[in-house]
Amino acid sequence: MLNPQLEACLQSVQKPGRYTGGELNSVVKDKDSIRLRYAFCFPDSYEIGMSHLGMKILYALANAREDTWCERVFAPWGDMEEQMRKRGVLLYGLESGDPIRDFDLIGFTLQYELCYTNMLNMLDLAGLPLESAERTALTPIVIAGGPCVCNAEPVHAFADIFLPGDGEEITNTLIDLLIAHKEKGSSKKEFLLAASKLPGVYVPSLYDVSYNGDGTVRAVTPQGDAPAKIKKSVVRDLDAMFFPESFVVPSVEVVHDRAVTEIFRGCIRGCRFCQAGFIYRPIREKSPETVDRQCRDICLSTGSDEISLCSLSASDYTKMEELLTRLVAWTDDEKINIALPSLRADNFPKELMEKLSGVRRSSLTFAPEAGTQRLRDAINKNVTEQEMLSTARQAFEGGWTSVKLYFMLGLPTETPEDVAGIAELAQKVVDEYYANPNKPKGKGVTVSVSVSSFVPKPFTPFQWEPQDTREQLEEKQRGLFSHIRTKKISLSCHKTQTSLLEAALARGDRRLAAVIKTAWEKGCRFDGWDELFNFGFWEEAFMEHGLSVAFYANRRRDCGEVLPWDHMDYGVSKEFLIKESKKAGENETTPHCRVKCAVCGADKLNGGECDARCKGLV
């Protein structure tokens, strides 16, 4: 089944099992009886990509069509890349082993900015020109989706089409269109023009961008009748939405290998730093019946012994009790665990809790994000010290001896008191442990404090904010270390260089395409992996194109500035974001969506509906 050149590669690499395909439930079709071949590419390792829910859904969705065969492709690790280049093996679909260069459609999912060089590398390994403009034939068409597409400008040159928003419906529409044009013998230009007329489709080559003397964007101008604003796709009804009956079962170990389904899309919280909290709005809930059925299907078809319920904030699901009651009715007998991340389980009736005893207790984690109430108010992270400490107390009384706390440094309006507040809060958690008269004898407490650096992102109220410079962030990290006086607290801080690059790419404009290409040429791959990250290469690449990381990462934007992503419509309005940003400056909170609709604007893409508002409090 595998060709000899590929076999030779596999015999010289670590973990060959991730390059072979053939897993249970992977889909193999007869090449001659289909009309479109689709390569779904995840620009990171097999282990990460195979853990991703979105990929599972879209893979099954495309394969549910009789006329389409969709295959999976992941980024080969360095040793495999070397072998492939040495032996002339082109990037192939895992199911067929055929080069994806000959496919009709190549789709990337862009989940984080630090995977951009992998996308370029995969196109190159496929034997394709990197730039859309140089791929002149109709096929393969290169498309990309995922959260990064809310500002796709830095990678605009490499994909032919971007699909902002939910991919479930637009994928089918686009496949239909491509099949029709392929069979008609259209040119690529004809197809792209037709595609640009579909709502939820962004064809970057149909827009011209001009710049001001200071390097900011002057205007984004659509050519011809391309829409001035591109609306993201929104799936209205999650119960009616396609969901797979089976997942591919990875044969080698991956990060998450379990039955997973989404319980709702969007988030009611509105934390001002969190991009996901805004770009997935409005809120759409899935019914407990649907979730239960989907979990059952997946467990049956994969033999999985763990269920994971996915959402941005599980405790905000309005029908959690009903859902868990349904699930435990069968999971108990089947020896299936239910993983409940970040759920306040103390709100449920005792009988249910007892049945849930099979639930694997993941470690106790809190994400206060900021060290003082003042800063938590400014970022709208509506959790109080009292709540955290009382939950910690209950947990300690229940026998827990370790807690994880997540914070961010460099948040807008942060002062030295806020930095010191992180250490103080961690200390209070330690004190809470020792205040417990029934604490286990001879056992200490561990409070792990994990600190990342704030990265301002598009479509958040902080999209205009400067990121702290490396020096500022490192100064704050040192300050924080000096405030910690006990070994009970273990502090770990993320690398600042990675966050800096992330900030530059997240709010970048079209000029970064050349930078990304140069960085890739210098050898950048897997930038999200600390051991492979080479910031030096990136700095050189920016410099060679007369640009600076600081311009993108550390510069404060004016509210009136044209932002590179202003032509994207994610529902959430600019007025709302400006209002939220002002409130942040005044340390003023916004209640969550079930208390009061903050009129973010996202409902207008969903026919004026939003489950947070219409269904209200239960």
Partner: protein
């Protein structure tokens, strides 16, 4: 509760699965096949699966034994049918029956190795030189062994461990058949022998296939 010995083939893409991967695949497969298995007690119950002769990554096998514990009524044929349907490509269950031999009686394994060379001359040279090396009675290799709880490197003479062998070349392919110790008492991975031959002959293949053909007991009769 009764023991069942499942025999399966591991070939093609599946040969790149490690022993740990195999464990994972079968754990999922028995659940998916809804076999009435006996589960261990405790907080995290799991089925009892015992691979009697774990196969190194990269090697094929015509017949691998796996012992399970069954707790319900089910025929061997039914187990075979249900399991085969839910395993990754390249793993195929060929039989499921009561174990005939004690697991510990595995003593040797017969391997078939085929090496593909760039040209016919090299294949012939490799076959000839390898034959001479084995006949000479001395072919050393480094082997990782255990001394108490520590890993140690030790020198072994591979020739002392070869029970039977046959080597020939045809076209660009060199074929080697060897019976080597296998099991918990003494074990020799055929790839160790091949790398020693490659080192001594100074020749390297383009592609290699190592296939375990069958397991043998001490008296050279087949393990069942």
């Amino acid at each position: 509760m009764r023991a069942v010995r499942v025999w399966f083939k591991k070939e093609g893409r599946a040969k790149y699965l490690s022993h740990l991967d195999m464990n994972r695949c079968f754990t999922r497969a028995v659940r998916r096949a809804r076999l009435p298995l006996w589960y261990t007690e405790g907080f995290n119950p799991h089925p009892y699966l015992n691979f009697l002769a774990p196969l190194p990554l990269g090697q094929e096998s015509a017949a691998e034994p796996l012992d399970m514990k069954i707790e319900g009524e089910i025929t061997g044929a039914e187990i075979e049918k249900r399991l085969s349907a839910v395993l990754p490509e390249g793993i195929e269950v060929t039989a499921a029956a009561d174990p005939a031999d004690e697991a510990l009686s595995i003593a040797m394994a017969e391997y078939g190795v085929s090496l593909l060379f760039g040209e016919g001359r090299t294949a012939a040279a490799f076959a000839e030189k390898s034959g001479e090396l084995i006949k000479s009675g001395l072919l050393t290799a480094e082997k990782t062994g255990k001394k108490g709880r520590h890993k140690v490197q030790k020198q072994i003479n591979i020739c002392e461990h070869i029970f039977r062998y046959e080597i020939s070349a045809s076209g660009t392919v060199c074929s080697l058949k060897a019976t080597l110790p296998c099991g918990s008492q003494s074990n020799l991975n055929p790839s160790l022998m091949i790398s020693a031959l490659k080192r001594e002959t100074g020749l390297a293949e383009e592609l290699i296939t190592i296939r375990r053909i069958r397991l043998l007991k001490e008296d050279f009769s087949e393990f069942r």
